[in-house]
Amino acid sequence: MLANPRFPKLPYALMTLGVVCLLIGSYLGLFVAPPEHYMGEVQRIMYVHVPTAWNWMLAVLFTFGAAIAYLFTSDFKWDARVEAGLEVGALLGFLLCCQGAIWAKPTWGVWWDWDPRLTSTAVLLCSFAGILALRRFVDEPTKRAVLSSVATIIASVDLPIVYFSVRWWNSLHQMQSSPATVSSQFHLPLRLNAFGILFLMSGFIALRARIASQRLSSELAPPPQELVGELA
């Protein structure tokens, strides 16, 4: 029931498409686009950072949605998607923090500058890591699914609150401003990379969800023969 996907090759197609877009977009961003006026070469990290940020938000929204879907339907396919979303979201969040640090060091001389967006990302990264740990420590599949869905919803609702509180906190200290937005001539590599990461991420999520489904199938025993027809 869970382990027979309709489009077996889909994740691989998505990932290939993603890598291709990323390669083209990165080539354009690194070698073809002119350096930015004020910040110079360092600004090129925006071609990866901004798309990663967009996709991270999408991953978090997806995981939040899957958690709500699980609580309403109690269908394990949503739990598999929550598991996948948590891992991919944590991965993207980690990448985002690394990229932020890489940008901050040459620009401001420090690895971390308490930028509200990056700080919220770090907080959510810790939350997702905690929920992944929770999943490891609950053995019963149904309990694990319910608890991690509830925890995901609580952590996701917190995201905007964390963002606003850090922003207020920063404004009192007059912190340096965050990486500026990109002007129009640089849109093409940005869009290509955004789609590249989107396809790659979707492929990862689909594949990971499939692995989670297969593991769930083996954890949950099939019903006794006579009752197979009773299960909806």
């Binding site: 053995d139 019963e140 599949p141 954890e219 949950l220 025993a221 019903p223 006794p224 006579e226 009752l227 009773e230 299960l231």
Partner: protein, 208 residues
């Protein structure tokens, strides 16, 4: 002539714990006011069945009505009308016997229940000082206080001495006199078989 609603109407109940199906395809009916004995070896599914019918846990497959109420849609109604005597005592260790009972009812009813089970002299002692037999008696008092119309007793004779055995039989008789339906899961097949109106034997999660 209008039919009385069945006390229990269970069909194809099944429940799994991970890889293992503790119950697979249990169906039966029980008329109100009867005493039913559920017998079977350890691991045959007796506890799981009682827990599903008292709504402590959900069934993965199957339907049932208890006292005319659906176990999925009308859980609260069933909980109001039934009481479960489980393996665990449901007691708070650091509270006294009296305080544990007063969570359910007022002081006079609590005292009466304590007296009924022979614990009035230990009413103000913390449960942590109680022996296993005394905890069982206190759990019985809890059940009595809830005035259930259907009582689920899971191994009621466990941890009790011969005096305790007599108490259990008295309580079951009292419940039946009051019109309640009683389901008793037990190993004491001969003892309970003497007064049970109906019997259900379970083996490996199925009706034997």
């Amino acid at each position: 002539m209008p039919m009385e609603p069945l006390a229990i109407d269970a069909s194809h109940l099944a429940r799994r714990y991970g890889r293992r199906w503790a119950l697979s395809d249990v169906s039966f009916q029980l008329a109100p006011g009867k005493i039913m004995m559920v017998a079977g070896r350890n691991g045959s599914g007796k506890t799981t069945l009682l827990r599903i019918l008292s709504t402590a846990i959900r069934a993965d497959i199957g339907h049932a009505t208890v006292g005319g109420h659906d176990i999925v849609k009308e859980r609260d109604a069933i909980r109001r009308a039934t009481a479960l005597l489980a393996h665990q005592s449901y007691l708070y260790e650091s509270l006294t016997a009296r305080e544990n009972l007063e969570i359910i009812s007022g002081a006079p009813a609590a005292s009466a229940a304590l007296e009924r089970v022979g614990l009035l002299d230990r009413a103000n002692d913390a449960v942590s000082t109680f022996s296993a037999g005394m905890r069982k008696r206190l759990s019985f008092a809890r059940v009595l206080l809830q005035k259930p119309s259907i009582a689920f007793l899971d191994e009621p004779f466990g941890q009790l001495d011969p005096e305790g055995f007599a108490l259990v039989e008295e309580v079951i008789a009292e419940l039946k006199r009051g019109g309640a339906t009683v389901i008793v899961a037990t190993h004491q097949v001969d003892r309970v078989g003497r007064f049970a109106d109906a019997q259900l034997a379970l083996e490996n999660g199925r009706v034997a």
